[in-house]
């Protein structure tokens, strides 16, 4: 009897773990923009989740006014990038003039304020609204295991986005310059790199990644106004565990936490899952405050 139960659990486990990885990729994509911006901008962007919401809203507005869905969603993602760029160029300008802890602190207040404002406006203007991309196929069977098609497609979108980001940061001169600026600003200037421009670019990239995360989430489930701060919290959890300046760390930590999340909710239920995730954060902060994968980009 016990044996059979265990076997049933183990049998389901493969699917649960894969499901966790797919969800984790989504978390990675969500966190990576936050981490990029913090690493170079020194700003912990608490409005990050709102970018996800706004991308969803713009997509739906454009689609319902007759745009081709593919073009509409691409445009919305691009606009999310531009929104990041605008944030860097306008509201945060005065914040950069501050130094050290003051910059971090004021940056927190400014972006938190922005998050509340955007959360308020979007909830007020678009009540009961949601962005969801439906995949025509329900389930896909691979080697005797069955998966939700939406989860697979969402995971694929996340994976490709993250992969392209890594290629950009690792192989192109501009990508290398961004990493250089993350590691040593004086050294970057000595190489002729315009650090402020790299920061603006990073805000654009961060916005773009949030926009792509919106698509990934819209495919897997749905994006609704009012959930921006919750999304930001998830990004923060991933960021802290991975090392809040490490893009690579955020990617690995996202997948790791996705798997933990899936296993915990499978075995213990959703209620305990968040507690377990936060428990991991506390343990990481206590024993390795720089994050599990700190260093590198």
């Amino acid at each position: 009897m016990i044996h059979e139960t265990l076997q049933a659990i183990a049998g389901g486990m493969v699917e649960v773990v894969i499901d966790g990885i797919l969800f984790g990729l989504q978390l990675s994509l969500l966190a990576v923009g936050l981490v990029l911006i913090f690493g170079l901008g020194g700003i912990l962007n608490l409005a990050h989740g709102e970018f996800v919401i706004i991308t969803g809203i713009i997509s739906v507005v454009l689609i319902s006014s007759g745009w081709n869905p593919f073009i509409a969603i691409s445009a919305a993602i691009f606009l999310s990038g531009l929104l990041g760029l605008a944030l860097d160029r306008t509201v945060l300008r005065p914040v950069y003039k501050l130094k050290g802890e003051m910059e971090v602190l004021v940056g927190l207040f400014v972006t938190l304020g922005l998050a509340f404002i955007l959360e308020g406006i979007t909830s007020y203007l678009f009540p009961g609204f949601y962005f969801s991309v439906r995949i025509p196929v329900e389930t896909i069977n691979i080697m005797g295991l069955s998966f939700r098609a939406s989860a697979l497609v969402s995971g694929l979108i996340s994976f490709v986005s993250l992969y392209l980001l890594l290629i950009f940061l690792g192989r192109t001169m501009t990508g290398k310059a961004i990493r250089a600026a993350l590691q040593n600003q004086t050294g970057s200037r000595v190489c002729g790199i315009d650090v402020e421009r790299m920061r603006t670019l990073v805000f654009f990239l961060g916005g773009l990644m949030a926009g792509l995360a919106s698509l990934a989430k819209g495919v897997a489930s749905s994006v609704e106004p009012g959930s921006g701060l919750e999304l930001t919290s998830y990004a923060l959890i991933v960021g802290v565990v991975g090392g809040v300046r490490s893009v690579y760390g955020a990617m690995v930590a996202g997948v790791l936490l996705g798997v933990v999340n899936a296993i915990a909710s499978y075995l213990l239920g959703t209620y305990l899952t968040l507690i377990i995730l936060l428990g991991i954060v506390v343990v990481v902060i206590l024993y390795k405050p720089s994050g599990l994968f700190a260093g590198g980009v």
């Binding site: 001169m173 290398k176 310059a177 990493r179 250089a180 590691q183 040593n184 004086t186 050294g187 970057s188 200037r189 000595v190 190489c191 002729g192 790199i193 315009d194 650090v195 260093g295 590198g296 980009v297």
Partner: protein, 237 residues
């Protein structure tokens, strides 16, 4: 012709001047040194030339153009390279990535491959360690990397702060000899603690004290001066 001219420069930190009316000229294809005791203002002068220190008065002229108010990265774009005393490498990137970033400016990027093989020829150790992370290199290796990264930008003017830091005297000398070889197409400005080496390699020397230039001349002229003899060369005049 002067490649670099510093005229009546007053500069310092937070409104307080460290440099007082500094004049300095660097002729094309020469090696010029600034010497002086600790805290005399050598690094501050180089930082001001690069744009890392606020200038309160005076002008900095490079190739006939005023660059006094350009940003550091803009000066690099014009053909000035800087090896700061703190090296300022990218510790989490490979040796090769550090070098490639040295050729970031458009004028340097065109010749990236060529420059890279020249630097590897200049410092074979960097070629052996090309995939090692810069932060894990030894102090001397990091110094070579910093110099190599500066050379990658194909500078007209190479500015070096304390080249000898962390390097064995023999290696320092070898690098100086190589720089002399390069001076056919490059001009070098250095700040040096090691006065004997500065005298050996320089065409012209400036002596700083308390943020002022107190003497200047060719090594021959200066070694005749009793002031310099007693203060710096340890010879009773």
């Amino acid at each position: 012709m002067d490649l670099l001219a510093v005229e009546g420069l007053r500069a310092g930190y937070k409104g307080l001047n460290v440099l007082w009316d500094v004049d300095l000229n660097v002729k094309k294809n020469t090696i010029v040194s600034v010497i002086g005791s600790n805290g005399s203002g050598k690094t501050t002068l180089l930082n001001a030339i690069m744009g890392f220190v606020e200038v309160n008065k005076g002008e900095i002229i490079f190739n006939g153009n005023k660059i006094t108010h350009l940003k550091p990265q803009e000066r690099v774009g014009l053909g000035i390279a800087y090896v700061p005393s703190e090296r300022e490498l990218f510790p989490e990137m490979t040796v090769e990535d550090n070098l490639m970033l040295g050729a970031y400016t458009p004028r340097a990027r065109k010749h990236l491959r060529e420059s890279l093989s020249q630097v590897y020829e200049f410092f074979p150790i960097l070629s052996e360690r090309r995939n090692q992370l810069a932060g894990t290199m030894s102090g001397g290796e990091q110094q070579m990397l910093a110099i190599g990264r500066a050379l990658m930008s194909r500078p007209e003017l190479l500015i070096l702060d304390e080249l000898s830091t962390g390097l064995a005297p023999a290696i320092t000398l070898r690098i100086y000899r190589k720089l002399e070889g390069l001076s056919e197409r490059m001009t070098v400005l250095l700040a040096e603690q090691n006065i004997h080496q500065a005298f050996m390699v320089s065409d012209y020397i400036y002596v700083m004290e308390n943020g002022k230039i107190i003497a200047s001349g060719s090594p021959d002229e200066l070694s005749e001066s009793s002031l310099i003899k007693s203060a710096y060369l340890g010879v009773k005049g």
